[in-house]
C-alpha cells in the first residue's frame, strides 16, 4: 500500500462514518432513532437490507469459494427470493400494523410477555455472541496479508462503527449503508474489470470462461438428489428458504431495516429489490473466484495463499520441495490449457477431448499439491490454519492491482464490515432497550428522552462488548466455529416461535412458550449426544417447536373466550 491507497481507504471509510454521525447528530425522536427516518424510501431500505446481510467475509470468502469449489455455491441463495416473498406477504404487514420497534414485540402482542422475552433472549444470546466475530474475522485476514497489527485494526473499526451508530441510531445506519453499498459496488466492478484486463494474452474473457468451465468451476446448477452433495438446487431451495426465513423474518438486525419507511409499500419494494438482485450479485462474486482460478493458472502464486501461516511452519526441506513441485505443475497446467484452447479452435472433436483430459489432469495435479501443502502444514502443527481460500481474493488485490484500486478494494472490505456491524449493534441496542429495559421499567416507556439515552447506552455497551470479544477471539480461534454452532442451535426454535405465531392461530402463549423451552432442551441434548451436521439443528429446533406447540395446545385447557 502506498499513500494513494491510504488516502482512498481513510477518506472513504472515515468520511462515510463521519458523514453519518454528523448528518444524524440532531436525532431526537425515539421512532427515528430506532426505526430510521419516517420518509425513508424503498431504495434506501433495499440497500440497507443488502448491506446488513453482506459482511466483509462475504467479499473475502465467496471469491475464494468460487476459486476452490466453483460457482455451485450460488444455489445456496435459491431459497432467498421465496423467503422474501413470504416475509413481504405475511411478516411485514403484521409488524407494521402493530407498529412495533422489534420483531419480539409482535410475540408479546400475539402470545404473552414471557414468550416475547424468550424470543428476544434467544436473539440477544446468538447475535450478541456472534457480534465480535463480524469485526474479528475480516480483521484477522486483512491484518495477516498486509502485515498490520491486529488489535489496532479491531479497535479502529469498532470505534468508528460505535460512534455513528450510537449518534444517529437506525437513521445513521441506513444513511451510511447507501454510501457503503456504493463503495462495495464500485470495488467489485473495479476488481472484475481489472481481473478481466489481466487475463493472459491469447486467453481473454471468453477463453478464460471456457477454461474455467472445462476445469469444473462453472457447474452452477446441480439437480442431483444425492444427499452427499453439498450444494444442489434442492438443498438451496429448502435449506435456503428455511435459513432466509429465519434471518429476514425474525432477526432484528434485518427486521429493523425494513419496518421503518414511509409506508408498507417502501418496505415491500426494498425486500423485492433484494429478492431480484441477490442471486445475480452472488453469481458475479463467484465468477470473480472462478476467473481468478484461471488467472492463477498463469500468474505466479504461492502454493498456500495464507503466506503468514505457511512461513511460520515452512522451515524444512519438505516445504521447499512442495513449492518446487507446485511451480512445475503450474507450468504444465498452463501448457495444457493453451493446448486445449488450440484444439478447441480446430473443431477436431477427438483432439479437443484428448487435450481437455490432459488439461484437467494437469490442473488436478496442481490441486493435489495444494492438498499436500495443507497436509504438510497439519503434520508440522496440528493446530495450523489450513483453509486458505479466504486469502485468495485479498492476495490478488494486494499483489496484482494498481495503487488506488488497492485502497478502494480495502475500503470495500471495511465498508462491508462496518455496514453489517452497524445493523447488529442497532438491533442489539434496540432489543435490549425495548424488550428488556422497558419490560422491567414500564413507567419509563412514556419518557422519550430517557428511552433515547438508554438506547444509546445499550448500543454503545454492545459495541464495546463486540470490540472486547474480537480482541480476545485471537486467543480462542475455535470460538468462531462454536458461535456458528450456537447460532444454529437457537435460530430454529426462534423461527418456530414466529411460524406458530403467524400460521397456527389457535395456539396460545403457554403452549408455544413451553414447547419452545422443550424444543430448545431437545436440540441441546441432541447436540451433546449425536454427531450430525449442526445446520440440521435449525430444522430440528423449528419442527420440534411447531409440533410440540400443537401437541401442548391440544392438552392444555383452553382459555376462556
Amino acid at each position: 500500500m502506498n499513500v494513494v491507497d491510504w488516502i482512498v481507504l481513510l477518506a472513504t471509510i472515515v468520511g462515510i462514518a463521519a458523514y453519518g454521525a454528523w448528518r444524524t447528530r440532531q436525532v431526537r425522536s425515539l421512532n427515528t432513532y430506532l426505526r430510521g427516518k419516517p420518509s425513508t424510501g424503498w431504495g434506501t431500505i433495499g440497500l440497507s437490507v443488502m448491506a446488513t446481510q453482506a459482511s466483509a467475509i462475504t467479499y473475502l470468502s465467496i471469491p475464494g469459494q468460487g476459486f476452490e469449489s466453483g460457482i455451485g455455491f450460488v444455489q445456496n441463495y435459491f431459497g432467498l427470493p421465496l423467503a422474501l416473498i413470504i416475509v413481504c406477504a405475511v411478516f411485514l404487514p403484521m409488524y407494521r400494523r402493530l407498529n412495533v420497534y422489534t420483531a419480539y414485540q409482535f410475540l408479546g402482542e400475539r402470545f404473552d410477555e414471557k414468550t416475547r422475552l424468550l424470543g428476544a433472549g434467544l436473539f440477544l444470546l446468538q447475535r450478541g455472541l456472534a457480534t465480535g466475530v463480524t469485526i474479528y474475522a475480516p480483521a484477522i485476514i486483512v491484518s495477516t496479508v498486509l502485515g498490520w497489527p491486529l488489535d489496532p485494526v479491531i479497535v479502529a473499526t469498532g470505534l468508528l462503527v460505535i460512534v455513528y451508530t450510537v449518534t444517529g441510531g437506525s437513521e445513521a445506519v441506513a444513511l451510511t449503508h447507501r454510501w457503503q453499498m456504493a463503495v462495495i459496488a464500485a470495488g467489485m466492478v473495479t476488481a472484475l474489470i481489472l481481473l478481466i484486463l489481466r487475463l493472459p494474452d491469447g486467453l481473454h474473457f471468453t477463453g478464460s470462461v471456457a477454461a474455467a468451465g472445462a476445469l469444473g468451476k462453472l457447474h452452477a446448477v446441480d439437480f442431483s438428489l444425492d444427499p452427499s452433495r453439498r450444494y444442489t438446487v434442492w438443498t438451496g431451495l429448502f435449506g435456503g428458504l428455511f435459513l432466509s426465513l429465519s434471518y429476514f423474518g425474525t432477526d432484528q438486525s434485518q427486521v429493523q431495516r425494513y419496518i421503518g419507511g414511509s409506508s408498507l409499500r417502501e418496505g415491500r419494494l426494498g425486500l423485492m429489490f433484494n429478492a431480484m438482485l441477490k442471486i445475480p450479485m452472488q453469481f458475479v462474486i463467484l465468477m470473480v473466484g472462478a476467473l481468478l482460478f484461471v488467472f492463477y493458472q498463469f500468474a505466479p502464486h504461492p502454493v498456500f495463499f495464507n503466506q503468514a501461516e505457511w512461513r511460520r511452519h515452512s522451515q524444512d526441506s519438505r516445504f521447499r520441495a512442495i513449492e518446487a513441485e507446485h511451480a512445475q505443475a503450474l507450468a504444465q497446467s498452463q501448457s495444457a490449457i493453451r493446448a486445449w484452447l488450440q484444439a478447441r479452435a480446430s473443431d477436431d472433436v477427438a483432439r479437443e477431448a484428448t487435450a481437455r483430459a490432459a488439461m484437467v489432469a494437469a490442473s488436478d495435479r496442481a490441486q493435489a499439491i495444494r492438498a499436500e501443502a495443507r497436509a504438510a502444514l497439519l503434520a508440522a502443527d496440528p493446530r495450523a490454519k489450513v483453509k486458505d481460500s479466504d486469502y485468495v481474493f485479498i492476495t490478488f488485490i494486494v499483489t496484482q492491482l494498481p495503487h488506488g484500486a488497492i485502497g478502494l478494494l480495502l475500503a470495500m472490505m471495511f465498508a462491508a464490515a462496518l455496514s453489517s456491524k452497524a445493523s447488529e449493534l442497532a438491533a442489539l441496542g434496540t432489543t435490549t432497550t425495548i424488550d428488556f429495559w422497558r419490560h422491567f421499567r414500564p413507567l419509563a416507556a412514556a419518557d422519550e428522552a430517557r428511552n433515547m439515552r438508554v438506547a444509546r447506552r445499550f448500543t454503545a455497551l454492545w459495541g464495546i462488548f463486540a470490540v472486547a470479544f474480537a480482541l480476545f477471539a485471537g486467543f480462542a480461534e475455535n470460538l468462531i466455529e462454536a458461535i456458528n454452532i450456537l447460532g444454529s442451535i437457537f435460530y430454529g426454535v426462534l423461527l418456530g416461535l414466529f411460524l406458530v405465531a403467524f400460521f397456527l392461530r389457535h395456539v396460545g402463549g403457554s403452549a408455544v412458550f413451553f414447547a419452545a423451552i422443550a424444543a430448545q432442551t431437545l436440540v441441546i441434548v441432541m447436540y451433546f449426544s449425536l454427531n450430525i451436521g449442526y445446520l440440521w439443528y435449525n430444522l430440528i429446533g423449528c419442527a420440534a417447536c411447531v409440533a410440540l406447540s400443537l401437541a401442548l395446545q391440544a392438552i392444555l385447557p383452553r382459555r376462556a373466550p
Partner: protein, 50 residues
Amino acid sequence: MTSAPRPEEPLETESPDVPGFGTWRAVYFFVFGWFVLLVVLLTAFTAMFA
C-alpha cells in the same frame, strides 16, 4: 408496550403503485418468475460451459 397501532395498510389485492402492476400478488408473481428465469439461465449456463 408498542406504540399506537397504525391504521390498516394496503392489502394484497390493493395497488402497489408500481407501473405495470395492479396488485401486490402480481409483484410477487413477477419476482417469482424472475427467480425461475434465473434458474433456467443458470441451468443453460451450466450446460454450455460445465
